[in-house]
Point group: C2
DNA sequence: CACCTCTCAGTAACATTGTTACTGTCGAAC
DNA sequence: GTTCGACAGTAACAATGTTACTGAGAGGTG
């Protein structure tokens, strides 16, 4: 165990600030030029240090990728929470707002979406802890579903989790849209709405 | 234009056979060890030639990736066609069989699924022609939908293509299953069924 | 048959990338 | 003041995609 001295704290704070700087640079690079530009040398060059720093701080590229993965889910979580807050008190409205916000986030943060759900960073697979934590981004969705279910008395679906089902459906359409499968934005939007409407109707969540 | 002589033909036949050999080796490597093992040196080593051959034959790794991409869709197409053939004449049965076969194919050919829909091979994005051709794998699904629509008189959904919607929904659940998001196979299967049932009901395809 | 030419495979190199051993430096502790 | 420990920088290594150079073999031409 390390001794807790002012020095140690200052050092830790410095580490934390530096970590933030590195992450911001990596994030900017990811958003501006895509995952392909995310090389250790490029990042270190961007902030003016050697690659060694990245290794002592993140352990390797996987560690950095995982930090970006968490950041992506944090952004998603913020966006969903904001949308639900703005939607008012009706659970149905809150559910619908969550659905729209999910797609908007994916389109606004395509690069992050690729890190989170595509294999945008070649060797990377998130750790089980990161995956488990990522699901909390959907807490607001789960809440809306629970409220709505209480109101409508929708039946349970056995092993099928309603939140997971909605999420998977949204992901299917969004990932196709990001891959360019739809002719235009209007088609993508309509397909997305149709998919979510179908599933929430089937779940009895209206 | 090159002259068409027996020699040229033999050479072309040789090229074709060689191409097949290379593709088989790459395919075996992909299935056995995943996309990470797909290196030019590894493939050339596997068949006992130099990397130059791969470049003259496929133009580069992207060309090889695209060949595997097409192969993946060819396998999917075969599987869907077989399932539909075995399902009998009822369009509803044919639709349901297609849905099941899609998931079965994804699970049986995970590595291919990653090449086709994930970004399993780092720099690769399929050419527009390959993407356009890939959609023909779903011709049997489109046929089943059309038959069923004729029988049930289901309404049109405007810009939303019913086949695309079913496909995207199936993809959403399957890609999550491949990523390990579900606790067990039974949960995944139930979620998949629920998603497809929801969408086909919503489309009026029963 | 001798020579020329063209296609193409092999070798070996180059650039890029993740990663790490070695070295030096700077601050804390006694 | 000396010693020690943590950490950053340099420079290397291994792997990978790619390509310039070289050579061999086959067909055409005299």
């Amino acid at each position: 165990m390390t001794t807790d001295t002012p020095y140690r704290r200052a050092q830790a704070a410095g580490q934390e600030a530096l970590r933030r700087t590195v992450l911001d640079a990596a994030s900017a690079l990811l958003v501006a030029e895509g995952p392909q530009a995310l090389t250790m040398r490029r990042i270190s060059g961007e902030i003016g240090c050697s690659t060694t720093v990245l290794y002592t701080m993140f352990g390797g590229k996987d560690g950095l990728a995982e930090a970006l993965y968490r950041e992506g889910f944090a952004r998603l979580r913020r966006r969903l929470a904001e949308a639900v807050d703005a939607a008012g008190d009706d659970p149905a409205d809150r559910l619908a707002a969550t659905g729209r916000a999910y797609r908007e986030n994916a389109l606004a943060e395509r690069a992050y979406y690729g890190v989170m759900f595509g294999q945008a960073i070649p060797g990377f697979t998130p750790s089980p802890e990161a995956v488990a934590e990522s699901k909390h981004a959907f807490d607001v969705l789960a809440d809306a579903v629970a409220s709505l279910r209480e109101r409508t008395g929708a039946a349970d679906l056995g092993p099928v989790d309603a939140t997971d089902l909605l999420w998977a459906t949204a992901h299917g359409v969004v990932s196709f849209e990001l891959a360019g499968h739809y002719a235009d934005e209007a088609t993508a939007a309509a397909t997305y709405r149709a998919a979510l409407t179908a599933v929430s109707t089937h779940l009895g969540l209206r």
